[in-house]
Amino acid sequence: MMRLLGTIVGLLAFAATAAVGQDTTVVEQGVRVGITYTPGVRPGLLVLGGERVTVLDSVRAMVARDLEYSDEFEIIALPMGDSMSLRIAREPGDGESAPYVNYPLYAALGADYAVDVYPDAVDGTPTVSMFNVGASARQREIRVDVTSPGDPEFRLAVHRAADELVRSVTGQLGVAASRLLFVNRGRVYRVDSDGAEVRPISEEGVQAMSPSWAPDGRRMIYMEFPSSLYEHVIATGRRTLVPVTSEAQNFTPVYAPDGETIAFSRATNEGTDVYTYNLAAQCCLQRLTVGRLYDNLSPTFSPDGRRIAFISNRPGLTQVYVMGADGTGQELFAPFEWGVTGSSNAPEWSPDGRYITFHREVERSPQIFVMDVATQTVRQLTSAGRNYDPTWAPDNRHVAFVSERTGSRQVWIIDIETGRVRQLTRLGEARLPSWSPRITAPIN
């Protein structure tokens, strides 16, 4: 006990405060003194040790990482031995009090919440619980419904359990059970939100660009370089040419929230303009912009499907514009100072409709920005290296983007509330990311 207390005092001495709104390249591992949850201050969370059985170890490691990546908690890191000594006693013979949850100790360690991973007492199913330390009560218990780590659905099942744990504290589902598409050397890949399970999706030997998820998370649409659009069913690998795109040069396709209509950019002898097309009915190609002397491209739908943000270089450099989904009422959207503000590109509307993220040149280096749609005010999120092509997580809180800060193009993720960043991909190169909706059912 003396040794443990000594460790605790030592850890508290290194207590770190959460950085707010800054892009930090190091994930903070700090420990805080326990504080009750208030907006802007993250509650401390302790992941308890437990039985060292393969499946439980896998679940524990994944859940701990998912909770860390949720950026909703201050994870309390303890030396391995101390962490193990915090395991909850639930051996037979512990009597009426078993399992014994040592809330006072967790509170002393700065924890507002504690997570435990254990086999169900009856059937042994891996189970996770969230304990509320302040209330001395179990907040939520969730069984992981896929029990074999070899099962292709195992990881998603654990991610879903972690997302439920996040919801039990914040009221909002986490985004661990989601995936991202990106392009690596001309091929579309997918990756789990925690960086695991990198898999090629599009065919080899054709150069793909600009993959974008359908709202159902089961299809994607992308451009086959240099000119045509294809819809691709993830589970079967079946790909279909979007009929109207066998002519002209078509790029940056996105689905409307109805999952039936698409919007895309088309380059012709008149420049580049935004078009829509009803993919489900295979009809009604509609040209929404008439640029002639300037280009309009990179459409993104508002979540109600009624508006489309896009970029246009009608003010000289490209800036973010908005229009009705029928092309009416085109106007400047993200404010800029003429002659001062750099070009803005690659807008994406957040799933809740409140924000638009895009990248903007700052001193000839692109950086990630977020605009509050209601107030039309913009905020710069990144400043380290070149950062571009942002895409929203389904929680409206995280943004994935391409960064060259390590020397090669890789996908990184930033929490727009704390500014914490983490690197998602470590390949030759990764670009043009698209973050999926939450994956609620098996897709492959």
Binding site: N269, L297, S298
Partner: protein, 206 residues
């Protein structure tokens, strides 16, 4: 009758050789001179020589004609290659710009002359961008650069039907490095022949 003399002489030689028991045979006596056969032989040889001479002369003529034709084809080829080279000369652009630069006008004027001198010629202009800027925007920028060169030619009387355009954005750099020199080379229009390029005439004065 003419054959009997040499034949009987030959038999005599064989008999003598046999009689002498294997000693060296004496040289055969010269055949008797027959003026008719000499004349006939000479006539035959002359005729062959004349025929050969005629064939040689024909062959030489044919070879000369072939060589001339080859020279002429080679000339046409050389000319076509030279014109193609002029036609394929790239033009470059300033960063994030699609206006034709002053110094590139003469390069485009050369293409203008070639298009005028070869009415069957059709070309494609492909716009490219450097690696900076948005990957997707660079497709639009490349398209705009191709259109700028196309419009220059259309404004000077070339039918738009003869010039197609496309963009490869930043996806096909000439120079893979990441520095000002490479970027300047990569911001370009490339020109290629899509039809009517088998034989190209140089415009007068080029």
């Amino acid at each position: 009758m003419r054959l009997t003399v040499p034949l009987s002489a030959g038999i005599a030689v064989i008999l003598v050789a046999y009689a002498c028991g294997g000693g060296p045979p004496p040289p055969p006596p010269p055949p008797p001179v027959n003026q008719d056969s000499i004349d006939a032989e000479r006539a035959r040889r002359d005729s062959i020589a004349r025929e050969r001479a005629r064939e040689d002369s024909l062959r030489r003529a044919r070879e000369a004609a072939d060589a001339a034709a080859r020279d002429s084809i080679a000339r046409v080829r050389r000319e076509t290659e030279r014109v193609r080279g002029m036609l394929e000369t790239m033009i470059n652009f300033e960063y994030d710009q699609s206006q034709v630069r002053q110094q590139d006008a003469s390069v485009l004027d050369q293409k203008l002359g070639i298009l005028r001198a070869n009415p069957g010629l059709r070309i494609q202009i492909t716009g490219h961008a450097d690696e900076r800027g948005s990957d997707e925007y660079n497709l639009a920028l490349g398209n705009r650069r191709a259109l700028a060169a196309r419009q220059y030619l259309i404004d000077r009387g070339i039918s738009g039907d003869r010039i197609s355009t496309n963009s490869l954005g930043e996806e096909r750099p000439l120079d893979p490095r990441s520095n000002e020199e490479a970027w300047a080379r990569n911001r370009r229009d490339e020109f290629s022949i899509t039809a009517g390029g088998d034989v190209l005439r140089a415009p007068s004065g080029m």
